[in-house]
């Protein structure tokens, strides 16, 4: 099997889709530089550079999709969804329902997300739970190169709006372009399996709503997405040294949510620990508790999430985002009782 970086896997799946289907067109700011490897291959008509006008060019993505294209609109960073929120919340997510199901919106919105490189609280948010809250949106948050490519292909083929979020610590393009910027004097805690890994020679779409069990464990079930999966795996490794068997589930898509995989595992372990880089309140971590309870499963529950605005200073940021020591400590607390 060939290996690819997380960033290359996504572009590669997009190239495969663009080759197969003329209707796949991508646009966003500075894409001729940021996606230069697609720009050179597919030209300026299909890899389009936009002005800094997120409200207009995401909104246009909605109707371009309704008009027959399969657009991939890049927001650069998911934080900038703030500017485009009307198109996402009131249009992309709703038109299929409003039209009585007659008019789907096959739009992909691609954006970098997440922190861990010191860029401050307006450029490092996760926001997948916030977006998944809106009925009508599919929210994809891959943690490995193979998933990233396969889920991107599925997103392009899907007949509804998909938010595709790539973590900036996993993507060399974003980490180097926003964090390192040519310096050898800065370091980042990058999980090697997330950054680079085996990928299929030809991309096949991966199904939405199917979690991956990354590690089996009977004492405790850790559920996470994106970078958090790698943090959870590292924590599970530490816990194993104490004889604790922690399982790790990678949701892969926040919506649709793979409820049955989570319930099955929690029913067996009796303990659920959610690791979520998105904000703690009213989000994915609470949703997971709810679906387990709705399944009639009694369990012990804890969560390691982001609770405040993400501070700029690296040492404060480190304490704010979920990290391995916090996960291990939360797991030990759960096991104690």
């Amino acid at each position: 099997m060939p290996t690819k970086t997380y960033a290359d896997a996504i572009d590669d799946a997009i190239a495969q889709a663009m080759q197969a289907d003329e209707r796949v067109v991508i646009w966003g700011e500075d894409l001729d530089m940021i996606r230069r490897n697609l720009y050179v291959r597919f030209g300026a008509e299909r890899v389009r550079c936009t002005p800094i006008s997120e409200g207009a060019f995401v909104g246009a993505g909605v109707t371009a999709a309704m008009g027959g294209l399969r657009p991939i609109v890049e927001l650069l960073l998911v934080d900038f969804a703030g500017v485009a929120m009307d198109a996402i919340l009131n249009h992309a997510a709703k038109i299929e329902a409003f039209s009585g199901g007659q008019w789907p919106v096959p739009l992909v919105i691609r954006a970098g997300c997440g922190g861990g490189y010191g860029d401050g609280g307006q450029h490092q948010q996760a926001l997948w739970g916030w977006l998944a809250h809106i009925p009508g949106l599919t929210v994809v948050v891959p943690s490995t190169p193979a998933d990233a490519g396969g889920l991107m292909l599925a997103a392009i083929e899907h007949d509804g709006p998909v938010i595709f979020l790539e973590h900036k610590l996993l993507s060399t393009v974003w980490r180097e372009g926003l964090g390192r910027l040519g310096r050898s004097t800065v370091t980042f805690d990058v999980p090697p399996d997330g950054e680079k890994g085996p990928v299929p020679r030809t991309w096949m779409p991966l199904p939405f709503g199917q979690a991956a069990v990354r590690r089996e464990g009977r004492d405790l079930t850790i559920v996470s997405v994106s970078l958090g999966v790698h943090r959870a795996l590292a924590a599970a490794g530490e816990l194993a040294a104490d004889g604790v068997q922690a399982g790790v589930i990678d949701l892969r898509t926040v919506t649709p949510l793979d409820v049955s995989t989570v319930r099955d595992a929690v029913k067996r372990s009796g303990r659920l620990l959610v690791v979520d880089e998105d904000y703690q309140g009213f989000g994915l971590s609470g949703e997971l508790a709810a679906v387990v309870l709705e399944g009639g499963i009694a369990c012990r529950y804890a969560r390691v999430c982001t609770q405040t605005t993400i501070p700029f200073a690296r040492h404060l940021e480190e304490q704010t985002l979920p990290n391995v020591p916090r996960i291990v400590a939360a797991a030990r607390d759960l096991l104690r009782a």
């Binding site: 230069r36 050179v40 006008s53 900038f80 500017v83 910027l181 501070p311």
Partner: protein
């Protein structure tokens, strides 16, 4: 009336030396992630801010260091904030894109275009609570395609608010040249909203100062908002470590990482026939060159321009420069972690 060019030059030089120190600290890895400097914008910033009074408000974009320094914020606390220290201007929570000083009514944002609505709100508060005061918005030419900024132009005119909108036009929004994104001259667009408009050469601090004096007088007298358009260059590219700047300055080391993926794209499987790929490749290469060369010319440096007017008094000039350098060195020595 003419500005005191000595004072303006001192402020511009202080900002430059300060940002040179920021550059060194960033290179050393002591400042994280993106860092957008004001280097090249000092003429605009100094010319505008000389007219501000306590009680006036400042809405800033991602290049806030020069405006804050020239607005009287404690440079040591500003530098500590860039370093993420707990006694920084915002206790290490904001960083260089999110700099705030309530005392100085100064607020920044890393969201392009956000300084428009920010200035409108500050101006409205001034209209109610601090008559005779105003708000200044700084933004780049790339921001004028952001709806919220255009809406702010209109709102400021509709409510006749005391706002001075200052567009620092370097001709580029990261890698997007102005002419590709903006269809009509900026000044016409602003005039279309009913803003009072002026265009000046941002290298010329005196010209900026004069244009800004008129704009702020209009605002204070209740005659409504203005749009001041000023050209400039960014001497260090879009941000520190700008890949195109790196590729030009250190071609041996940097060309491969910057252009490698693009060259590999020429031979990758999917896509147009290879012949057709050369066009886009050449186009990006040419534009990169144009971008970098347009940002390096010393004739475009507002400090060089301003200094020329002062060389007649060479002793006074060298004393001033030595003082400013020593001041900044002192600050750096105080804040630098061991």
């Amino acid at each position: 009336m003419l500005p005191d060019v000595w004072t303006l030059y001192r402020r511009m030089l202080f900002s430059r030396r300060f940002e040179e120190a920021v550059h060194r600290l960033w290179d050393a890895g002591l400042i994280s992630a993106e860092m957008h400097l004001s280097m090249g914008e000092e003429g605009i910033v100094a010319g505008v801010l000389d007219h501000l009074q306590p009680g006036d408000a400042l809405a800033l974009d991602h290049r806030g260091t020069a405006p804050l320094l020239m607005h009287g914020i404690d440079p040591e606390r500003l530098l500590r904030e860039c370093l993420g220290q707990e006694d920084g201007l915002c206790n290490g929570w904001g960083g260089h894109m999110h700099l705030f000083s309530r005392e100085h009514l100064a607020a920044s944002s890393g969201i392009v275009g956000a300084s428009g609505p920010a200035a409108v709100g500050f101006a409205l508060a001034a209209q109610h609570l601090r008559p005779g005061h105003l708000a200044v918005a700084f933004f780049g030419e790339g921001a004028v395609n952001q709806g919220m900024l255009m809406e702010s132009f209109n709102l400021a005119v509709a409510w006749k608010l005391p706002v001075v909108f200052v567009c620092k036009d370097n001709g580029w929004a990261i890698y997007t040249p102005r002419e590709r994104a903006i269809s009509t001259p900026l000044i016409d667009r602003a005039a279309g909203f009913g803003l009072h408009t002026t265009s000046v050469d941002g290298r010329d601090v005196t010209a900026v100062w004069e244009a800004a004096r008129d704009a702020q007088t209009r605002a204070r007298e209740g005659r409504g908002p203005s749009f001041l358009h000023a050209r400039c260059v960014h001497l260090e590219g879009h941000l520190l470590g700008d890949p195109l700047v790196r590729a030009v300055r250190q071609p041996l080391r940097e060309i491969a990482p910057v252009f490698g993926p693009m060259l590999r794209a020429v031979t990758r499987r999917q896509g147009a026939p290879v012949r057709q790929r050369l066009g886009p490749l050449r186009e990006v290469g040419t534009r990169g060159n144009r971008l970098v060369s347009s940002q390096r010319a010393s004739d475009d440096d507002p400090l060089v321009w301003t200094r020329k007017q002062l060389t007649g008094e060479s002793d006074r000039l060298s004393t001033l420069e030595a003082e400013v350098t020593a001041q900044v060195n002192d600050i750096v020595a105080r804040v630098q972690p061991e």
